[in-house]
């Protein structure tokens, strides 16, 4: 029987997807072992507790509404002490890095980072971590109370939204020493898109043919919630700005999904996008080197594929 605690994350009053993903994983583990799954929320997020449908219990801590590494770590620490969960799931994220390391050290708990899969094995847990830039996977087993840092994209966020009873419980918790103070949130500048930060990129190459054709690509990008990037010939032609160029003399990008349309895949381009988690290539040339690095490929005209996609999306 495993009791799992999920430490949720939020920005500007909304739970981050990682919260639901972790909750989905926790729900499954709790189900498999006949245990419970609880979610820890901070401050005003208490009023959104019902969104965490997969949790059996939502623990609401009295805290500042904005994340504070010192305060939130102190809260997590005292909740772990109080509730003694078997496993604590924390995001492998900007906030999670602060909390996991500090709480793990103070409470002397093992930490397993970069985890994308967890399974129960008797009273122990087996976790898979992505190490060395994703080149090797490490599988470890832990049979005591531990912290697992979960990578974004490890589960479908939808799985965290239902399946539990989500009763609410207020918890009183430590506050921290006040050495760190939140000042303000800073929104990204609206001037142009920073493609190095994009989660999804629709990237175009020479295959596009003319500047006017880019409009169709922009429509596709919009419906995929993606940004548009390109290879060098497009910038050389003056069709897109330098800030959109991926590759050796452009920017290096690491989106979750990189959709390469009409890009042949010169080494100079591949250098800039090979770190994308999933690469999908559309090219008329079946020998195009882009297919060597792509995870999925379609041999065909990029506009045919774009049109077909748009039809399907509508």
């Amino acid at each position: 029987m495993a009791n799992i605690l999920v430490v949720t994350e939020h920005i500007k009053g909304n739970f981050e997807d990682i919260s639901f993903e972790m909750l989905g994983l926790a729900r499954e583990l709790a189900g498999a072992t006949g245990g419970t799954c609880s979610a820890l929320v901070f401050g005003a997020m208490k009023s959104n507790a019902s969104q965490l449908g997969a949790a059996d219990v939502v623990l609401a801590a009295d805290a500042g509404d904005e994340y504070n590494p010192e305060e939130y770590s102190a809260i997590v620490e005292s909740v772990i002490k109080d509730k003694s969960p078997d496993l604590v799931l924390i995001g492998s994220t900007s906030m999670g890095v602060d909390i996991a390391g500090q709480v793990g050290t103070t409470l002397n708990l093992p930490i397993i980072s970069y985890c994308n899969a967890i399974e129960a094995s008797g009273s122990a847990f087996k976790c898979t971590s992505q190490l060395y830039g994703g080149k090797l996977n490490s599988q470890v087993q832990v049979s005591q109370q531990a912290i697992v840092m979960v990578l974004a994209g490890s589960a479908d966020p939808e799985t965290g939204k239902s399946g539990g009873s989500a009763s609410l419980e207020d918890v009183s918790a430590g506050k921290g020493a006040g050495k760190v103070r939140f000042k303000t949130l800073i929104e990204p500048e609206a001037s142009d898109v920073d493609i190095t930060q994009s989660q999804v990129l629709v990237s175009i190459g020479r295959g596009v043919g003319s500047k006017d054709d880019i409009e169709a690509i922009e429509e596709l990008a919009e419906s995929l919630n993606a940004d548009v990037s390109c290879s060098r010939p497009i910038v050389d032609a003056g069709w897109m700005s330098k800030s959109r160029q991926v590759g050796k003399s452009g920017l290096k990008v690491k989106p979750k999904v990189y959709l390469a349309l009409g890009i042949s895949g010169a080494p100079e381009h591949i250098e800039g996008m090979k770190s994308a988690s999933t690469i999908i290539a559309v090219n008329t040339d079946p020998q195009a080197p882009i297919f060597d690095v792509a995870h999925y490929g379609i041999v065909g005209d990029l506009f045919d594929v774009t049109e077909e996609l748009m039809d399907e999306l509508d």
Binding site: I11, V97, D98, T105, P110, K135, N137, S138, K183, L224
Partner: protein
């Protein structure tokens, strides 16, 4: 204002990585190590603070061993004021224990701010910054892309997803996990490094491992399962299914 920068050498991902005979650990016999790229950013940020007059001293620290001199001389050539290698007796069995040894050395050296790279490719058992901070009872902020120091406090800019940032104020001493410096790490010209090698001294520190057994049992280390090249799809409809599976459509 004295900043300590903790530098780590990590396996260079340009090389093909292989697993040793145990099937559980990296084969390090043939591998090339290089300075952790996030640590380069930490060093850069520290040197920028010194150049802006917000810090007086930048001390570069790294574990003594193969390549450590090169790391330290390069740090001096870039603008660190002092460099020390840390002799570690015993062996750190995981990244958490390693972090505690670094904390011990940092404590012996003493400083107002400790800067490290936010993560490394092999820190499976927890990240350096928060573990050092907790060990020394200092506040810690990670994923930082900018620092301003004024008196005994620092303004710290932390990056969230989607380009949103948060500004925090922290009392010093504090530990900062650097995501990216305010400018790309500078290049140290070879002639400058050689000049430093002839003139500068590298100091030494020590830390001893308690060598406690890790409570994590490693079962296997292996390349992720991978298909042969691209999986070819027939139509835009198939592509949409893939995009849906990836959660972007």
């Amino acid at each position: 204002m004295k900043i300590l920068v903790l530098l780590r050498q990590v396996p260079d991902l340009v090389e093909d990585l292989e697993v040793d005979d145990s099937g559980k650990a990296l084969d390090v016999s043939e591998i090339k190590f290089k300075l952790n790229e996030y640590d380069e950013h930490a060093l850069e940020e520290a040197i920028l603070l010194k150049e802006r007059g917000e810090a007086d001293e930048v001390v570069a620290l790294t574990q003594e061993g193969e390549g450590s001199e090169k790391v330290l001389y390069t740090a001096l050539a870039k603008g660190a004021t002092l460099a020390k290698s840390i002799a570690i007796s015993g062996e750190a069995s995981d990244s958490a224990q390693f972090a505690k040894l670094m904390a011990e050395a940092a404590k012996a050296e003493g400083g107002d701010m400790i800067m490290v790279g936010v993560q490394s490719v092999d820190d499976r058992d927890g990240q350096l910054a928060p573990i050092v901070a907790a060990s020394l009872d200092m506040p810690c902020i990670s994923a930082v892309t900018g620092v301003k120091v004024s008196g005994n406090t620092a303004s710290i800019f932390k990056e969230y997803s989607g380009g949103i940032m948060a500004e925090f104020e922290a009392d010093l001493p504090a530990v900062i996990g650097i995501q990216a410096a305010e400018q790309p790490p500078r290049y140290a010209p070879v002639s400058k490094i050689k000049q430093i090698q002839d003139s500068a001294e590298i100091g030494s520190l020590s830390a001893s491992s308690s060598n406690g057994a890790s409570s994590i049992e490693v079962l296997a280390l292996a390349p992720p399962p991978k298909g042969e090249g691209a999986k070819m799809l027939d139509s835009g409809k198939d592509l949409l299914d893939v995009l849906k599976d990836l959660g972007v459509a």
